[in-house]
Amino acid sequence: MEPASLATDTHVHRSVYTDPAIFELEMARIFGRAWIYLAHDSEIERAGAYVTRHIGTTGVIVTRDRDGSARAIVNRCTHRGATLCAFDRGEAPHGHQCPYHGWLFAPDGSLKMVPNRQNYDGVLDLAEHGARPVRLEFYRGFLFGTLHDAAAPLAEFLGPMASSIDDLVDRSPTGRLTCIPHVLRHHYRGNWKMTFENLNDTIHPGFAHSASVVSAKAVADDIGGGQSLAPTVGMMLANGKPIRFFQDLDMMVAPPGHSYIGGHMGARYTPDTEDRYTQDLISFHGPEKAAAVLGTDRHLTLLYPSSTWHARYQTVRIVRPVRHDLTEVIGYVFRLEGAPEETFRNAIEYVNGANSAASPVISDDLELYERLLAGNRYEDRGWIPMLRGLREDREQGNGWTRTPSTSEAFIRNQFQAWRHYMAAA
Protein backbone atom coordinates (compact mmCIF):
# COMPACT_ATOMS: atom_id res chain seq x y z
CA MET A 1 0.00 0.00 0.00
CA GLU A 2 1.30 3.44 -0.90
CA PRO A 3 2.36 4.82 2.52
CA ALA A 4 1.39 8.40 1.71
CA SER A 5 -2.20 7.23 1.34
CA LEU A 6 -2.28 6.40 5.06
CA ALA A 7 -2.78 10.07 5.89
CA THR A 8 -5.35 12.46 4.46
CA ASP A 9 -5.98 16.13 5.29
CA THR A 10 -8.33 15.09 8.07
CA HIS A 11 -7.60 11.47 8.98
CA VAL A 12 -4.65 9.17 9.60
CA HIS A 13 -4.64 5.40 9.67
CA ARG A 14 -3.73 3.85 13.03
CA SER A 15 -1.18 1.54 11.37
CA VAL A 16 1.24 4.49 11.12
CA TYR A 17 1.77 4.01 14.85
CA THR A 18 1.81 0.21 14.99
CA ASP A 19 3.43 -1.06 11.79
CA PRO A 20 7.21 -1.69 11.92
CA ALA A 21 7.40 -1.50 8.12
CA ILE A 22 6.03 2.05 8.17
CA PHE A 23 8.65 2.91 10.78
CA GLU A 24 11.42 1.61 8.53
CA LEU A 25 10.14 3.83 5.75
CA GLU A 26 9.91 6.81 8.10
CA MET A 27 13.56 6.38 9.01
CA ALA A 28 14.60 6.37 5.36
CA ARG A 29 12.21 8.99 4.01
CA ILE A 30 11.57 11.39 6.91
CA PHE A 31 14.63 11.16 9.16
CA GLY A 32 16.75 10.43 6.11
CA ARG A 33 15.66 13.71 4.47
CA ALA A 34 14.78 16.31 7.10
CA TRP A 35 17.16 18.61 8.96
CA ILE A 36 17.78 17.12 12.40
CA TYR A 37 18.99 19.16 15.37
CA LEU A 38 22.27 17.67 16.53
CA ALA A 39 24.17 19.81 19.01
CA HIS A 40 25.07 23.28 20.23
CA ASP A 41 28.32 25.04 19.54
CA SER A 42 29.19 25.10 23.23
CA GLU A 43 29.15 21.30 23.43
CA ILE A 44 32.20 20.98 21.19
CA GLU A 45 34.38 23.91 22.05
CA ARG A 46 37.95 22.72 21.81
CA ALA A 47 39.32 21.10 18.64
CA GLY A 48 38.78 17.33 18.89
CA ALA A 49 35.81 17.65 21.22
CA TYR A 50 32.95 15.43 20.06
CA VAL A 51 29.43 14.36 20.96
CA THR A 52 27.51 11.39 19.60
CA ARG A 53 23.90 11.81 18.46
CA HIS A 54 21.35 10.06 16.27
CA ILE A 55 19.66 10.86 13.00
CA GLY A 56 16.68 8.57 13.17
CA THR A 57 18.18 5.21 14.04
CA THR A 58 21.62 6.04 12.66
CA GLY A 59 24.35 7.05 15.09
CA VAL A 60 26.51 10.02 14.17
CA ILE A 61 29.56 11.76 15.66
CA VAL A 62 29.77 15.53 15.73
CA THR A 63 33.35 16.77 16.13
CA ARG A 64 35.09 20.13 16.26
CA ASP A 65 37.71 20.07 13.56
CA ARG A 66 41.18 21.66 13.83
CA ASP A 67 40.10 24.48 11.53
CA GLY A 68 37.33 25.34 13.97
CA SER A 69 34.52 24.04 11.79
CA ALA A 70 32.08 21.40 12.97
CA ARG A 71 31.99 18.03 11.22
CA ALA A 72 29.67 15.07 11.48
CA ILE A 73 29.99 11.50 10.24
CA VAL A 74 28.08 8.27 10.64
CA ASN A 75 29.44 6.53 13.76
CA ARG A 76 30.60 3.48 11.85
CA CYS A 77 33.99 2.23 10.75
CA THR A 78 34.17 1.52 7.02
CA HIS A 79 36.34 -1.53 7.58
CA ARG A 80 34.07 -4.08 9.23
CA GLY A 81 31.44 -1.74 10.61
CA ALA A 82 32.18 -1.31 14.31
CA THR A 83 30.87 1.85 15.93
CA LEU A 84 33.75 4.27 16.37
CA CYS A 85 32.69 6.04 19.57
CA ALA A 86 30.99 4.44 22.54
CA PHE A 87 30.70 7.57 24.67
CA ASP A 88 28.17 10.39 24.59
CA ARG A 89 30.92 12.98 24.53
CA GLY A 90 34.67 13.14 24.72
CA GLU A 91 37.91 14.36 23.21
CA ALA A 92 39.46 12.84 20.10
CA PRO A 93 42.28 15.26 19.30
CA HIS A 94 43.90 12.82 16.89
CA GLY A 95 40.68 11.74 15.15
CA HIS A 96 38.40 8.78 15.70
CA GLN A 97 40.23 5.49 15.87
CA CYS A 98 38.27 2.29 15.50
CA PRO A 99 38.62 0.02 18.53
CA TYR A 100 38.79 -3.11 16.38
CA HIS A 101 41.75 -2.72 14.00
CA GLY A 102 42.74 0.85 14.56
CA TRP A 103 41.61 2.50 11.35
CA LEU A 104 41.84 6.23 11.99
CA PHE A 105 39.25 8.70 10.70
CA ALA A 106 39.45 12.49 10.63
CA PRO A 107 36.47 14.50 11.96
CA ASP A 108 35.21 14.87 8.38
CA GLY A 109 35.34 11.12 7.89
CA SER A 110 38.41 10.91 5.69
CA LEU A 111 40.42 7.78 6.38
CA LYS A 112 43.83 8.85 7.66
CA MET A 113 45.56 5.61 8.49
CA VAL A 114 45.22 1.86 8.37
CA PRO A 115 47.71 -0.20 10.42
CA ASN A 116 50.24 -2.48 8.69
CA ARG A 117 49.75 -0.56 5.46
CA GLN A 118 51.59 -3.18 3.39
CA ASN A 119 48.59 -5.51 3.68
CA TYR A 120 46.69 -3.07 1.54
CA ASP A 121 49.31 -1.95 -0.94
CA GLY A 122 47.65 -1.48 -4.28
CA VAL A 123 44.32 -2.90 -3.19
CA LEU A 124 42.80 -0.33 -0.86
CA ASP A 125 42.26 3.30 -1.83
CA LEU A 126 41.95 5.26 1.42
CA ALA A 127 40.12 8.05 -0.40
CA GLU A 128 37.32 5.63 -1.22
CA HIS A 129 36.90 4.40 2.34
CA GLY A 130 36.07 7.49 4.33
CA ALA A 131 33.24 7.35 6.86
CA ARG A 132 29.98 8.74 5.55
CA PRO A 133 29.88 12.52 6.18
CA VAL A 134 26.70 14.26 7.34
CA ARG A 135 25.76 17.55 5.74
CA LEU A 136 25.69 20.32 8.37
CA GLU A 137 24.39 23.84 8.83
CA PHE A 138 24.41 26.14 11.85
CA TYR A 139 21.65 28.49 12.85
CA ARG A 140 22.86 30.91 15.52
CA GLY A 141 25.05 28.33 17.21
CA PHE A 142 22.66 25.41 16.85
CA LEU A 143 23.93 22.70 14.56
CA PHE A 144 21.56 20.78 12.29
CA GLY A 145 22.45 17.85 10.08
CA THR A 146 20.88 15.86 7.29
CA LEU A 147 21.66 12.62 5.50
CA HIS A 148 20.01 14.06 2.40
CA ASP A 149 22.68 15.86 0.41
CA ALA A 150 20.10 17.46 -1.87
CA ALA A 151 17.99 18.84 0.98
CA ALA A 152 16.95 22.50 0.69
CA PRO A 153 18.97 24.89 2.88
CA LEU A 154 18.33 24.90 6.63
CA ALA A 155 16.82 28.39 6.56
CA GLU A 156 14.13 27.13 4.22
CA PHE A 157 13.44 24.17 6.53
CA LEU A 158 13.13 26.44 9.56
CA GLY A 159 11.09 29.13 7.82
CA PRO A 160 9.29 31.42 10.27
CA MET A 161 10.11 29.02 13.12
CA ALA A 162 13.69 30.30 13.12
CA SER A 163 12.30 33.09 15.29
CA SER A 164 11.87 30.61 18.15
CA ILE A 165 15.60 29.97 18.07
CA ASP A 166 16.20 33.72 17.92
CA ASP A 167 13.94 34.00 20.97
CA LEU A 168 16.23 31.64 22.86
CA VAL A 169 19.52 33.24 21.81
CA ASP A 170 18.36 36.84 22.20
CA ARG A 171 17.48 36.23 25.84
CA SER A 172 21.19 36.08 26.62
CA PRO A 173 22.45 39.51 27.72
CA THR A 174 25.82 38.54 26.25
CA GLY A 175 24.63 36.64 23.20
CA ARG A 176 26.32 33.54 24.61
CA LEU A 177 24.69 30.26 25.66
CA THR A 178 26.20 27.18 27.28
CA CYS A 179 24.66 23.74 26.95
CA ILE A 180 24.90 21.80 30.24
CA PRO A 181 26.56 18.42 29.61
CA HIS A 182 24.28 16.56 32.03
CA VAL A 183 21.11 15.54 30.18
CA LEU A 184 17.76 14.15 31.25
CA ARG A 185 16.40 11.18 29.34
CA HIS A 186 13.08 9.41 29.39
CA HIS A 187 11.47 6.89 27.09
CA TYR A 188 8.18 5.16 26.48
CA ARG A 189 6.95 2.08 24.69
CA GLY A 190 5.14 3.93 21.97
CA ASN A 191 5.57 5.66 18.65
CA TRP A 192 7.70 8.80 18.24
CA LYS A 193 4.89 10.78 16.59
CA MET A 194 2.81 10.56 19.75
CA THR A 195 5.11 13.10 21.41
CA PHE A 196 4.80 15.55 18.55
CA GLU A 197 1.02 15.20 18.59
CA ASN A 198 0.95 15.78 22.35
CA LEU A 199 3.26 18.68 23.11
CA ASN A 200 1.19 21.41 21.47
CA ASP A 201 -2.10 19.83 22.48
CA THR A 202 -3.76 22.18 24.96
CA ILE A 203 -6.95 20.17 25.50
CA HIS A 204 -5.31 17.17 27.11
CA PRO A 205 -3.84 18.81 30.25
CA GLY A 206 -7.19 19.33 31.92
CA PHE A 207 -7.92 15.62 31.59
CA ALA A 208 -4.61 13.79 31.38
CA HIS A 209 -3.06 15.80 34.20
CA SER A 210 -6.15 16.24 36.35
CA ALA A 211 -4.62 14.21 39.16
CA SER A 212 -1.62 16.54 39.29
CA VAL A 213 -3.94 19.52 39.47
CA VAL A 214 -5.91 17.99 42.33
CA SER A 215 -2.77 17.20 44.31
CA ALA A 216 -1.13 20.57 43.65
CA LYS A 217 -4.33 22.28 44.83
CA ALA A 218 -4.33 20.14 47.97
CA VAL A 219 -0.76 21.19 48.74
CA ALA A 220 -1.50 24.84 47.94
CA ASP A 221 -4.45 24.81 50.35
CA ASP A 222 -2.34 22.99 52.90
CA ILE A 223 0.47 25.54 52.97
CA GLY A 224 -1.94 28.50 52.68
CA GLY A 225 -1.19 31.77 50.94
CA GLY A 226 1.81 32.50 53.13
CA GLN A 227 4.40 30.28 51.51
CA SER A 228 5.04 30.47 47.80
CA LEU A 229 4.49 27.37 45.65
CA ALA A 230 7.45 25.30 44.53
CA PRO A 231 7.89 25.77 40.76
CA THR A 232 7.11 22.17 39.86
CA VAL A 233 4.00 22.26 42.01
CA GLY A 234 3.10 25.40 40.10
CA MET A 235 3.63 23.51 36.84
CA MET A 236 1.30 20.78 38.08
CA LEU A 237 -1.29 23.45 38.93
CA ALA A 238 -0.93 25.16 35.55
CA ASN A 239 -2.53 22.14 33.90
CA GLY A 240 -5.78 23.20 35.52
CA LYS A 241 -6.19 26.38 33.46
CA PRO A 242 -9.70 26.66 31.98
CA ILE A 243 -10.09 25.58 28.36
CA ARG A 244 -11.31 29.10 27.59
CA PHE A 245 -7.78 30.31 28.33
CA PHE A 246 -6.30 27.93 25.76
CA GLN A 247 -9.03 28.73 23.24
CA ASP A 248 -7.97 32.38 23.30
CA LEU A 249 -4.30 31.48 22.97
CA ASP A 250 -2.81 31.35 19.48
CA MET A 251 -1.08 28.48 17.73
CA MET A 252 1.17 29.03 14.74
CA VAL A 253 1.78 26.25 12.23
CA ALA A 254 4.18 26.26 9.29
CA PRO A 255 5.50 23.67 6.87
CA PRO A 256 7.14 21.18 7.04
CA GLY A 257 5.26 20.08 10.17
CA HIS A 258 6.42 22.82 12.55
CA SER A 259 4.33 24.66 15.13
CA TYR A 260 4.32 26.62 18.36
CA ILE A 261 1.73 27.96 20.75
CA GLY A 262 1.63 31.24 22.63
CA GLY A 263 3.30 31.18 26.02
CA HIS A 264 1.40 30.93 29.26
CA MET A 265 3.86 30.07 32.00
CA GLY A 266 6.13 33.10 32.45
CA ALA A 267 8.69 32.47 35.18
CA ARG A 268 8.69 34.77 38.17
CA TYR A 269 11.61 37.13 38.78
CA THR A 270 12.20 38.95 42.01
CA PRO A 271 11.76 42.63 41.00
CA ASP A 272 15.37 43.65 41.59
CA THR A 273 16.69 40.76 39.56
CA GLU A 274 14.23 41.61 36.82
CA ASP A 275 15.45 45.19 36.68
CA ARG A 276 19.10 44.21 36.46
CA TYR A 277 18.41 41.66 33.75
CA THR A 278 16.38 44.18 31.78
CA GLN A 279 19.18 46.73 31.98
CA ASP A 280 21.67 44.19 30.70
CA LEU A 281 19.44 43.23 27.80
CA ILE A 282 18.92 46.87 26.85
CA SER A 283 22.63 47.60 26.91
CA PHE A 284 23.24 44.53 24.72
CA HIS A 285 20.31 44.82 22.28
CA GLY A 286 19.25 48.43 22.53
CA PRO A 287 15.81 49.40 23.89
CA GLU A 288 13.48 48.38 21.02
CA LYS A 289 14.95 44.94 20.45
CA ALA A 290 15.21 44.36 24.21
CA ALA A 291 11.53 45.24 24.58
CA ALA A 292 10.67 42.90 21.71
CA VAL A 293 12.67 40.09 23.28
CA LEU A 294 11.10 40.56 26.70
CA GLY A 295 7.71 40.89 25.04
CA THR A 296 7.93 37.51 23.37
CA ASP A 297 6.20 34.77 25.30
CA ARG A 298 6.08 31.53 23.39
CA HIS A 299 5.45 28.11 24.84
CA LEU A 300 6.85 25.03 23.10
CA THR A 301 8.00 25.19 19.49
CA LEU A 302 8.07 21.88 17.62
CA LEU A 303 10.54 21.43 14.77
CA TYR A 304 9.21 18.35 13.03
CA PRO A 305 10.29 15.55 13.23
CA SER A 306 12.91 15.71 15.93
CA SER A 307 13.22 18.65 18.32
CA THR A 308 11.19 20.84 20.64
CA TRP A 309 12.25 24.30 21.83
CA HIS A 310 11.40 26.33 24.90
CA ALA A 311 13.18 29.71 24.79
CA ARG A 312 11.67 31.08 27.99
CA TYR A 313 13.19 28.22 29.99
CA GLN A 314 16.24 27.58 27.81
CA THR A 315 15.31 23.95 27.19
CA VAL A 316 15.68 21.98 23.97
CA ARG A 317 14.47 18.40 23.66
CA ILE A 318 15.39 15.82 21.07
CA VAL A 319 12.78 13.20 20.20
CA ARG A 320 14.62 10.05 19.16
CA PRO A 321 12.76 7.20 17.42
CA VAL A 322 14.23 3.85 18.45
CA ARG A 323 11.62 1.37 17.23
CA HIS A 324 8.06 1.84 16.03
CA ASP A 325 7.11 1.12 19.63
CA LEU A 326 9.99 2.74 21.52
CA THR A 327 10.91 6.42 21.70
CA GLU A 328 13.45 8.35 23.72
CA VAL A 329 13.16 12.04 24.63
CA ILE A 330 16.39 13.78 25.64
CA GLY A 331 16.31 17.10 27.48
CA TYR A 332 19.11 19.67 27.20
CA VAL A 333 19.18 22.80 29.32
CA PHE A 334 21.19 25.95 28.54
CA ARG A 335 22.75 28.66 30.65
CA LEU A 336 22.22 32.20 29.36
CA GLU A 337 25.67 33.62 30.01
CA GLY A 338 25.37 36.83 31.96
CA ALA A 339 21.75 36.33 32.98
CA PRO A 340 20.80 36.17 36.67
CA GLU A 341 21.29 32.88 38.47
CA GLU A 342 17.54 32.89 38.96
CA THR A 343 17.08 32.38 35.21
CA PHE A 344 19.10 29.23 35.29
CA ARG A 345 17.38 27.96 38.41
CA ASN A 346 14.06 28.40 36.64
CA ALA A 347 15.41 26.54 33.62
CA ILE A 348 16.55 23.63 35.77
CA GLU A 349 13.19 23.48 37.48
CA TYR A 350 11.51 23.49 34.10
CA VAL A 351 13.58 20.76 32.48
CA ASN A 352 13.10 18.56 35.56
CA GLY A 353 9.35 19.07 35.44
CA ALA A 354 9.17 18.77 31.67
CA ASN A 355 11.50 15.87 30.99
CA SER A 356 12.09 13.76 34.08
CA ALA A 357 10.40 10.38 33.92
CA ALA A 358 9.62 11.01 37.57
CA SER A 359 7.80 14.27 36.88
CA PRO A 360 4.16 13.93 37.93
CA VAL A 361 3.19 15.62 34.66
CA ILE A 362 5.41 13.57 32.34
CA SER A 363 4.45 10.26 33.89
CA ASP A 364 0.84 10.95 32.89
CA ASP A 365 1.90 11.57 29.30
CA LEU A 366 4.15 8.50 29.18
CA GLU A 367 1.27 6.38 30.39
CA LEU A 368 -0.95 7.81 27.66
CA TYR A 369 1.59 7.21 24.90
CA GLU A 370 1.61 3.55 25.88
CA ARG A 371 -2.20 3.40 26.05
CA LEU A 372 -2.32 4.92 22.56
CA LEU A 373 -0.10 2.15 21.25
CA ALA A 374 -2.20 -0.51 22.97
CA GLY A 375 -5.51 0.88 21.76
CA ASN A 376 -4.35 1.41 18.21
CA ARG A 377 -3.39 -2.25 18.02
CA TYR A 378 -6.95 -3.35 18.72
CA GLU A 379 -9.23 -4.65 16.02
CA ASP A 380 -11.29 -1.56 15.32
CA ARG A 381 -12.05 1.17 12.80
CA GLY A 382 -8.83 2.06 11.00
CA TRP A 383 -8.97 5.82 10.73
CA ILE A 384 -8.14 8.41 13.37
CA PRO A 385 -9.88 11.80 12.98
CA MET A 386 -7.81 15.00 13.11
CA LEU A 387 -10.79 17.32 13.00
CA ARG A 388 -10.48 19.51 16.07
CA GLY A 389 -10.55 23.17 15.08
CA LEU A 390 -10.75 22.30 11.42
CA ARG A 391 -12.74 25.48 10.71
CA GLU A 392 -11.19 27.79 13.28
CA ASP A 393 -8.11 29.14 11.52
CA ARG A 394 -7.62 32.80 12.42
CA GLU A 395 -5.11 34.10 9.93
CA GLN A 396 -3.25 32.84 6.90
CA GLY A 397 0.25 34.31 6.55
CA ASN A 398 2.94 33.77 4.01
CA GLY A 399 4.04 30.26 4.89
CA TRP A 400 2.24 30.08 8.22
CA THR A 401 -1.28 29.83 9.69
CA ARG A 402 -2.58 31.23 12.96
CA THR A 403 -5.26 29.24 14.73
CA PRO A 404 -6.50 28.64 18.30
CA SER A 405 -4.09 26.70 20.49
CA THR A 406 -6.90 24.20 21.03
CA SER A 407 -6.84 23.19 17.38
CA GLU A 408 -5.42 19.99 15.95
CA ALA A 409 -4.08 22.12 13.10
CA PHE A 410 -0.54 21.28 14.24
CA ILE A 411 -1.25 17.57 13.83
CA ARG A 412 -2.81 18.07 10.40
CA ASN A 413 0.23 20.13 9.51
CA GLN A 414 2.53 17.36 10.73
CA PHE A 415 0.82 14.75 8.59
CA GLN A 416 0.91 17.04 5.59
CA ALA A 417 4.69 17.06 5.97
CA TRP A 418 4.62 13.33 6.72
CA ARG A 419 2.76 12.67 3.45
CA HIS A 420 5.13 14.85 1.53
CA TYR A 421 8.22 13.12 2.92
CA MET A 422 6.78 9.62 2.57
CA ALA A 423 5.46 10.06 -0.96
CA ALA A 424 8.67 10.56 -2.89
CA ALA A 425 10.29 7.15 -3.42
Binding site: I180, L184, A208, V214, I330, A358, L366
Partner: protein
Protein backbone atom coordinates in the same frame (compact mmCIF):
# COMPACT_ATOMS: atom_id res chain seq x y z
CA UNK B 1 20.93 -1.65 66.22
CA UNK B 2 22.09 1.96 65.94
CA UNK B 3 19.08 4.33 66.14
CA UNK B 4 20.04 5.95 62.84
CA UNK B 5 20.24 2.55 61.16
CA UNK B 6 16.81 1.83 62.57
CA UNK B 7 15.62 5.12 61.10
CA UNK B 8 16.92 4.14 57.65
CA UNK B 9 14.99 0.86 57.88
CA UNK B 10 11.93 2.68 59.20
CA UNK B 11 11.94 5.00 56.19
CA UNK B 12 12.12 2.06 53.80
CA UNK B 13 9.23 0.33 55.58
CA UNK B 14 7.03 3.45 55.39
CA UNK B 15 7.68 3.83 51.67
CA UNK B 16 6.78 0.20 51.04
CA UNK B 17 3.62 0.69 53.11
CA UNK B 18 2.78 3.81 51.04
CA UNK B 19 2.29 5.67 54.31
CA UNK B 20 3.53 8.86 52.69
CA UNK B 21 2.45 11.39 55.34
CA UNK B 22 4.38 9.44 57.98
CA UNK B 23 7.27 9.16 55.54
CA UNK B 24 7.42 12.94 55.02
CA UNK B 25 7.28 13.45 58.78
CA UNK B 26 10.68 11.77 58.96
CA UNK B 27 12.16 14.73 57.09
CA UNK B 28 13.08 18.23 58.24
CA UNK B 29 10.90 21.14 57.02
CA UNK B 30 13.69 22.32 54.70
CA UNK B 31 14.58 18.84 53.50
CA UNK B 32 15.99 17.87 50.13
CA UNK B 33 15.10 14.61 48.38
CA UNK B 34 17.43 14.24 45.46
CA UNK B 35 18.07 11.74 42.64
CA UNK B 36 20.65 13.27 40.28
CA UNK B 37 21.28 12.13 36.71
CA UNK B 38 24.97 11.59 37.46
CA UNK B 39 27.07 10.70 40.49
CA UNK B 40 29.38 13.53 39.42
CA UNK B 41 26.80 16.18 40.27
CA UNK B 42 27.54 17.91 43.55
CA UNK B 43 24.58 20.29 43.59
CA UNK B 44 21.13 20.18 42.00
CA UNK B 45 22.19 23.16 39.87
CA UNK B 46 24.95 21.20 38.16
CA UNK B 47 22.29 19.85 35.81
CA UNK B 48 18.87 18.21 35.65
CA UNK B 49 17.68 15.62 38.15
CA UNK B 50 15.20 12.76 38.20
CA UNK B 51 13.97 13.97 41.58
CA UNK B 52 14.89 17.34 43.08
CA UNK B 53 12.20 17.75 45.72
CA UNK B 54 11.54 20.01 48.62
CA UNK B 55 8.90 19.02 51.15
CA UNK B 56 6.14 20.63 49.10
CA UNK B 57 6.88 18.60 46.00
CA UNK B 58 7.26 15.44 48.07
CA UNK B 59 3.75 16.11 49.37
CA UNK B 60 2.28 16.89 45.96
CA UNK B 61 3.70 13.84 44.20
CA UNK B 62 2.82 11.39 46.95
CA UNK B 63 -0.67 12.84 47.36
CA UNK B 64 -1.09 12.24 43.63
CA UNK B 65 0.15 8.66 43.87
CA UNK B 66 -2.90 7.72 45.88
CA UNK B 67 -5.28 9.30 43.36
CA UNK B 68 -6.88 6.62 41.19
CA UNK B 69 -7.01 9.07 38.26
CA UNK B 70 -3.25 9.42 38.35
CA UNK B 71 -2.53 7.76 35.03
CA UNK B 72 0.69 5.82 35.27
CA UNK B 73 -0.21 5.10 38.89
CA UNK B 74 -3.26 2.91 38.27
CA UNK B 75 -3.21 1.28 40.75
CA UNK B 76 -0.56 2.89 42.97
CA UNK B 77 2.84 1.28 42.43
CA UNK B 78 4.18 -1.18 45.00
CA UNK B 79 7.75 -1.33 46.18
CA UNK B 80 10.02 -3.52 48.25
CA UNK B 81 13.10 -1.75 49.60
CA UNK B 82 16.10 -3.86 50.52
CA UNK B 83 18.61 -2.13 52.77
CA UNK B 84 22.16 -3.41 53.13
CA UNK B 85 25.46 -2.25 54.59
CA UNK B 86 24.22 0.73 56.56
CA UNK B 87 27.27 2.66 57.72
CA UNK B 88 27.22 5.71 59.98
CA UNK B 89 30.08 7.68 58.48
CA UNK B 90 29.81 10.68 60.79
CA UNK B 91 27.87 11.44 63.94
CA UNK B 92 27.80 14.68 65.85
CA UNK B 93 25.37 15.95 68.50
CA UNK B 94 23.38 17.92 65.91
CA UNK B 95 23.98 16.10 62.63
CA UNK B 96 25.01 12.76 61.22
CA UNK B 97 25.54 11.04 57.90
CA UNK B 98 24.77 7.46 56.92
CA UNK B 99 25.53 5.52 53.76
CA UNK B 100 23.70 2.41 52.66
CA UNK B 101 23.35 0.22 49.63
CA UNK B 102 19.74 -0.22 48.63
CA UNK B 103 17.76 -1.82 45.88
CA UNK B 104 14.10 -1.23 45.25
CA UNK B 105 11.94 -3.73 43.47
CA UNK B 106 9.03 -1.87 41.92
CA UNK B 107 5.78 -3.16 40.51
CA UNK B 108 3.51 -1.11 38.29
CA UNK B 109 0.53 -2.63 36.57
CA UNK B 110 1.31 -2.63 32.87
CA UNK B 111 0.59 -5.71 30.77
CA UNK B 112 -0.11 -7.93 33.76
CA UNK B 113 2.85 -10.23 33.16
CA UNK B 114 5.98 -10.74 35.20
CA UNK B 115 7.90 -7.98 33.47
CA UNK B 116 5.74 -5.39 35.19
CA UNK B 117 8.51 -5.31 37.77
CA UNK B 118 11.58 -3.10 37.61
CA UNK B 119 14.64 -3.02 39.77
CA UNK B 120 16.49 0.10 40.87
CA UNK B 121 19.54 0.22 43.04
CA UNK B 122 22.56 2.15 44.13
CA UNK B 123 24.06 4.03 46.99
CA UNK B 124 21.92 6.08 49.34
CA UNK B 125 23.21 8.92 51.47
CA UNK B 126 21.17 10.16 54.42
CA UNK B 127 22.09 13.42 56.10
CA UNK B 128 20.37 13.70 59.48
CA UNK B 129 19.73 16.70 61.67
CA UNK B 130 18.43 16.84 65.20
CA UNK B 131 15.11 18.69 65.31
CA UNK B 132 13.56 19.27 68.74
CA UNK B 133 15.60 16.43 70.11
CA UNK B 134 14.71 13.97 67.38
CA UNK B 135 16.71 12.76 64.42
CA UNK B 136 15.19 13.87 61.12
CA UNK B 137 16.31 13.39 57.53
CA UNK B 138 17.62 16.67 56.14
CA UNK B 139 18.92 15.27 52.85
CA UNK B 140 18.34 11.97 51.09
CA UNK B 141 20.47 11.52 48.00
CA UNK B 142 20.07 8.41 45.88
CA UNK B 143 22.77 7.66 43.32
CA UNK B 144 21.15 5.10 41.05
CA UNK B 145 23.50 2.72 39.28
CA UNK B 146 21.83 3.75 36.05
CA UNK B 147 21.42 7.43 36.88
CA UNK B 148 22.27 8.51 33.32
CA UNK B 149 19.91 6.00 31.71
CA UNK B 150 16.73 6.77 29.88
CA UNK B 151 13.89 5.99 32.27
CA UNK B 152 10.31 5.01 31.75
CA UNK B 153 7.76 6.63 34.06
CA UNK B 154 8.91 6.58 37.68
CA UNK B 155 6.10 7.00 40.18
CA UNK B 156 7.20 5.65 43.54
CA UNK B 157 9.95 7.50 45.43
CA UNK B 158 13.10 5.44 46.02
Amino acid sequence: MHPLERLVHREARLLDARDYPAWIDLFTPDCHYWVPVSPDMTTALDGPSHFNDDRQLMQARTHRLLNPRAFGAEPPPRTAHIVSGVEIVSENPEDAVALSTQIMLEWRRRTGFEDDQRLFGGQVQHRFRRVSDEWRIAVKRIDLLNAESSMNAILAPF
